[in-house]
């Protein structure tokens, strides 16, 4: 019964979203604003994961929704808006990443307290900060693939659809990105150890 109720709720939500999309297409700004408010958190979070700072992420998110406004007639009603937003967010973040200032060096993340090993000494927040900054050093496609797969939790096929690539290509990008990330971080920790 719960599954049926959940399915019904999803159906209603999809129809409601579709209705909102139809109204937005007819020029109803209130409907369009409703769509933006519904998705802004997801888009901003993904942009922040890809870009690493809130200001750039907010700029990218605005560009995504303005692009949605300009191209709303080309959005397929039968398909969900989510994958389209993911794809456009990745593209917007990639463009912004090319134009923006270079990232901060990894070395300025300080180890707060000495421990048995450098890995253990790093506080949780610092480990995340290091990993996030190391992401900046990856090629854009690999960075997008690993963010979508390992942080956003999409399946490999969903990542492939979002990036417009084959699953084989995405698996290759993900494995390459993970190996490079580990080398970057291991290299940094080795330098600290010596």
């Amino acid at each position: 019964v719960n599954a049926k109720a959940a399915a019904l709720n999803v159906g209603i939500a999809e129809r409601s979203g579709s209705d909102t999309l139809v109204r937005a297409r007819r020029g109803d700004l209130a409907a369009f604003e409703q769509i933006v408010r519904q998705h802004e958190r997801t888009v901003f979070r993904l942009a922040w994961r890809l870009l690493g700072n809130a200001d750039d992420a907010a700029d990218a998110a605005q560009e995504v929704f303005l692009k949605l406004y300009r191209g709303i007639d080309s959005i397929d009603e039968a398909r969900e808006l989510g994958p389209w937003l993911y794809r456009v967010t990745v593209n917007a973040a990639t463009d912004l990443h090319r134009r923006r200032r270079p990232g901060r060096p990894l070395d300025d993340v300080v180890i707060a307290t000495p421990g048995p090993t450098p890995e253990q000494a790093l506080l949780e927040g610092q480990r995340h900060e290091l990993a996030r900054r190391a992401l900046d050093l990856l090629p854009p496609k690999e960075r997008a693939a690993i963010v979508l797969r390992d942080i956003e939790g999409l399946t490999t096929s969903e990542v492939a659809e979002t990036l417009g690539s084959s699953e084989t290509t995405v698996r290759s990008q993900i494995s390459s990105a993970r190996v490079k990330l580990k080398r970057i971080l291991d290299g940094l920790l080795t330098r600290r150890r010596t």
Binding site: A54, A58, Y69, E124, G125, R127, A131, I174, S175, S176
Partner: protein, 161 residues
Amino acid sequence: MTCAERERELALYAGGELSNGDLEGHLDRCARCREYVDGMRSLLGDLSLGDPPALPPIATAVMRRIRRRRYGWAALAASAAAASVLIAAIVGMVSRPVATMSYALPMPAPPAVTVVQRAVPEAKRRLVRQVARPKPVPPAESVVVKLVTDDPNVIIYWITD
């Protein structure tokens, strides 16, 4: 295949995208590769750490930009339309010769009136009163000039005696 050559396979294995007997057999025997997989899993966990910052007012900013774009153009178009109507009206007035002529026509001066009084005897005055009782004055012959302008709603009549 060396351990270094297995790194990409191990990376996929750590993320759960790859599982095969050959690789798992190697992991059972190789402590270095097991450590690599553990390190990779720890790294993937670190990537997910940290909450995004507070949501900035994205929707508000987007809607402001859209409204400015949409109504900004509408306001500009309305101003342009109003300006063109005004210009057309001014040009029309200047180039309307009939209307100009109507303002230029000279108006006739009113006729001068002279009152003359004389001393007249009472009897004669009575007679004069009878005789001089106002007679209906035949109306002077009037001239009516009708000026037709370009505008059908504006017709100018000039009436003179």
